[in-house]
Amino acid sequence: MREFGYQRVLDVSGAVALLDADPDARFLGGGTNLVDLMKTGVERPARLVDVRELPLDRIESTRDGGLRIGATVTNSDLAAHPEVRRRYPALTQAVLAGASGQLRNMATVGGNLLQRTRCGYFTDVTKPCNKRVPGSGCPAIEGEHHNHAILGASEHCVATHPSDMGVALTAFDAVVSYETADGPGELPLAAFYLPVGDTPHLETALPPGALITGVTLPPAPTAANSRYRKVRERASYAFAIGSIAAALDVEDGLVRDVRLAFGAVASRPWRAREAERALAGGPATADAFAAAANAELAAARPLPHNAYKVTLMRNLVVAVLTELAEEASR
């Protein structure tokens, strides 16, 4: 780990100004990903700007009945918040499915959205990786990829986004707010992560030096009947091999509203809009859920060792929507 400067900032404009002045600076939130990446040599910042004490640690209801979540709210506080648990239970479940209790106490909402892939080629600086060193190649495609992407990947990178929280936020149409030296801005989460293409090293649409200040959840009555299910290779404290955030509103056996997002299948939390379209207004039956999943997964391009994810995601869609349909009709 190279030597670096450290500054703690107490206001957003000061934080943004510091980063604007030094392209080798990084914001430090909970540090649970950045400090690890610094230890492995993936990140080598010259300066850390500690934003943990910025006044962005509140969760407030918006006037229209949504929620505004500050960027430095910890994962634990987000998951435990009564309004999150009441209005967006899948978000609480998603956060609680991630990492461990001690890491959730440290990690922030902003940091969670910006965390990097856990692809073992990306985190090992002795190996090639287009995301870490553009043009060096992607050894996962010929090598180890049983937990890599089946959707939206390219021949340049097949890494997945590791967030659980982001999957639920994506299902609920969250909007990211940020601040730059030139002023504030907003990005819907659906447009926040860039397509992989031939630039896997460019991950988000945030302007250079931007500081995430918060995330806004629009009101979504359907989200009250929502669920997050995560499948992984041990029962806890592991990244997903496939996950799903789903919300469902059923009336007279017909789907009135549905939200679906997948985790661990793409370079970003994957909103399953094809499946949502297939379901809208139709019957809330297992067959319809399976057909909708197939519609979404028709675009899947699995590699030799991750084709099981297609089956897994289809089964998850059916299982979770079936449970939600039962609860909706209760």
């Binding site: 780990m1 002795t126 090598g143 806890s236 404290y237 897994l312 299982a319």
Partner: protein, 711 residues
């Protein structure tokens, strides 16, 4: 203070639950492990490992690094002192990966190429990362497969091959045949405490504060390697944060000694978790073919077990998986063979139940398949194949209480109510199943010495070079000494983990506590004779020494083993491929149990290793680079709290008649058969045989969609 022995005899400490004597230190953080003992002028070493899997070091560019802040030296093959690795130590010749910086050849990824020493660990780390090493890279082969053309038979710690009878003829004559291939992946010990050593010269003696499984062993290896008088090397290892076979002589101690010698100040070298994947040893992957031929009633006519493991190009180590059936089951034709193939990888080593852990997975899963084919209960099948004497040796068993374990286990697990048909039970989204398997592990003892002092204040001090790597050895020996002296345990202080206490067996082979208890018992006998003379105790106390070499050498040749019966219930979600163990029970016949509290924990811990082996553990080697993919605890999963249900272990009465305390050893048998019991339960839940570990969700899903057994 009284200087006489006590008036009333106190016994019964052995067999009674006793909390750990060092427990308070462990729960308050006061217990100091190897990397935690402070030294003045301590310098920090950081190892640099090769980034190619095969080739030659062309140059090590030290000059820029030597100018970095705090850097004291960079050791590499061009400037390191020569060491001797051409000797035969207590457990054979040393692994050349530990004899660091002797030549420019690189035989595997993660080979130590340099040690950077600096004033602080941060400086050492940064400088080690900055060190540029140029290589001449050569093509490598790291691909392990059953059909590798370079495989060969090798003896290792047991004969490579045993053969009896005409295998093909008996198979042909068998009513029922199982012929299947089983595989287990590369597995790593991953003790929670990384390997750490601090070396320093003190008054003409080399001192190494280390984390190992035997200080006298490591001290003798260091003396051999550096051509030192053994008396001038002292190795201490008071608390050890787990070993499981990985903590012997490794690169870090040798590098620390080299640096401390050159710099004339204490140098500490600690492995990072990632470095441990290359430097700490591991269990070889195995591919095992089992052929069983049986009469219609399940009695075996033919048993063939052939196992292939790998080793490095620089050192031979055999994972002797095919040894299991030499103890467990007889057949008219009985063939077993261990083969290895040399690849461009680090050398594997002993890991908890070497041979038995992977071997029992294959044998005990194959027996379950045979039970299914015969339509016989899996326990009954084992009853019908219980041998009278050693199947290969013909020697009598010292005791063999396997069937007692199955009877007690079946009763407590509720086995009698089991419907043998697979795929019938459901709890919500989960399919449920149960499985069983047998276990065995060798029961041995190694020569040891002990010193025992009757102190003037009426207490007793035992000095023995035992290692407590979490086994509870310190506490067990306290209880053994107390009973042998007929005093209360609180009057006995046991000091361990110091090579100055003299030679003793290591914490390995499930032989530690038995070997040390023997020496302690012998010393106590002699001390009591001395005290019976009633000459009074001088201020310095009365000290006697024991040596069990002759007594152990006089043991009659027998088949000496612990046995056990494993039971598991699992839940499988066929939609997601998730497998959860719901409960486990192990009943063991493992000699006299010294401390039920710690023994239960150790047996349960072994069974949890079985859960971990069955469902989680797998180190993945990247073919292109020759190194690991995901060499850390996020990439290499071991069972976490949420994976472990209520796991129970208990035992039947089984004292070893030839041991002074009746001990057999319990360190390893807990893992044996455990993975097979789980895999057998997964079959019972789903109807699908999983012959490849770990049983990952993707394998369960792929097997479901393939509609048969897993490929």
């Amino acid at each position: 203070m009284t200087t006489t022995t006590q008036a009333t005899a106190v016994t019964g400490a052995v067999g009674t639950a006793h909390t750990r004597v060092e427990g308070r230190d462990k729960v308050t953080g006061a217990a100091r492990y190897a990397g935690e003992i402070p030294f003045d002028e301590l310098a920090h070493g950081w190892m640099v490992l090769s980034t190619v899997a095969r080739g030659r070091i062309r140059s090590v560019e030290t000059s820029a690094v030597l100018r970095m802040p705090g850097v004291l030296t960079v050791l590499h093959h061009g400037n390191a002192p020569r060491v001797d690795s051409d000797y035969v130590g207590m457990l054979g010749t040393p692994d050349p990966t530990a004899a660091v910086f002797q030549h420019e050849r690189v035989p595997h990824m993660g080979w130590p190429v340099a040690l950077v020493v600096a004033e602080t660990s941060e400086q050492a780390r940064e400088a080690a990362e900055a060190l540029v090493v140029h290589y001449e890279e050569e093509p490598h082969d790291v691909t392990f497969s059953a059909g590798h053309p370079d495989a060969y038979q090798v003896d290792g710690f047991m004969p490579a091959v045993t053969e009896k009878g005409d295998l093909e003829a008996e198979l042909a004559a068998s009513a029922l045949v199982v012929d299947a291939e089983y595989t287990t992946p590369e597995e790593h010990h991953n003790p929670m405490e990384p390997h750490a050593a601090t070396a320093l010269w003190d008054g003409g003696r080399l001192e190494v504060v280390d984390s190992n499984q035997g200080t006298a062993w490591v001290a003798s290896e260091i003396a051999n390697m550096f051509s030192l008088d053994p008396a001038s090397v002292r190795v201490r290892s008071e608390h050890v944060g787990g070993g499981f076979g990985s903590k012997g002589l490794r690169a870090h101690q040798v590098a620390a000694v080299m640096a401390a010698t050159g710099l004339r100040r204490p140098v500490r070298v600690v492995m990072t978790r990632r470095q441990m994947f290359s430097l700490a040893g591991y269990r070889s992957p195995t591919t095992q073919r089992i052929r069983l031929g049986a009469r219609a009633d399940g009695r075996l006519r033919a048993l063939d077990h052939s196992s292939l493991s790998l080793t490095s190009t620089v050192h031979e180590f055999v994972e002797p998986s095919a040894g299991v059936a030499r103890v467990m089951y007889d057949a008219d034709a009985h063939h077993t063979a261990n083969r290895v193939v040399r690849l461009d990888v680090p050398t594997p080593t002993w890991m908890r139940a070497p041979g038995e852990a992977p071997g029992s997975f294959a044998v005990e899963a194959a027996l379950d398949e045979l039970a299914e084919k015969c339509g016989i209960d899996p326990i009954e099948l084992r009853v019908r194949n219980e041998p009278e004497t050693g199947p290969v040796s013909g020697l009598p068993f010292s005791s063999r209480n396997l069937l007692a374990c199955f009877r007690e286990g079946a009763r407590r697990f509720g086995w009698a109510d089991r419907d043998p048909r697979p795929g019938l039970r459901r709890d919500g989204r989960w399919l449920l199943g149960t499985g069983t398997a047998a276990a065995s592990f060798g029961a041995g003892a190694g020569p040891s010495t002990a010193a025992m002092t009757a102190e003037a204040d009426g207490t007793f001090t035992v000095r023995i070079n035992a290692a407590d790597i979490g086994t509870g050895a310190r506490t067990a020996l306290t209880l053994v000494a107390a009973d042998a002296l007929e005093v209360a345990p609180d009057r006995v202080q046991v000091r361990i983990g110091d090579s100055d206490f003299g030679p003793a067996w290591i914490a390995g082979g499930s032989m530690g506590t038995r070997s040390w208890a023997w020496a302690v018992t012998a010393a106590a006998g002699e001390l009591r004779e001395r005290l019976a003379l009633n000459t009074g105790i001088p201020p310095e106390g009365i000290t006697v020494r024991s040596d069990t070499t002759a007594a152990i050498g006089a043991l009659a040749q027998k088949e000496r083993h612990s046995f056990g019966a494993q039971f598991a219930e699992v839940a499988v979600d066929p939609a997601t491929g998730e497998v959860r163990v719901r409960r486990m029970l192990g009943i063991f016949a493992a000699g006299r149990i010294v401390n039920p509290l710690t023994a239960r924990g150790q047996l349960v811990g072994g069974m949890i290793w079985g859960i971990s082996m069955a469902l989680h553990e797998e180190a993945v080697r990247d073919r292109a680079s020759g190194g690991h993919y995901g060499a850390d605890l996020a990439g290499y999963h071991v069972a976490a709290h949420a994976d472990v249900p209520l796991v129970e272990a208990d035992w039947v009465d089984d004292p070893d008649p030839d041991d002074p305390v009746g001990i057999k050893g319990i360190g390893e048998i807990g893992i044996v058969g455990a993975a097979a019991a789980i895999a057998n339960a997964v079959w019972h839940a789903t109807g699908v045989r999983h012959r490849h570990l770990p049983i990952r969700p993707d394998r369960v899903l792929s097997a479901n969609s393939a509609g048969g057994s897993s490929a």
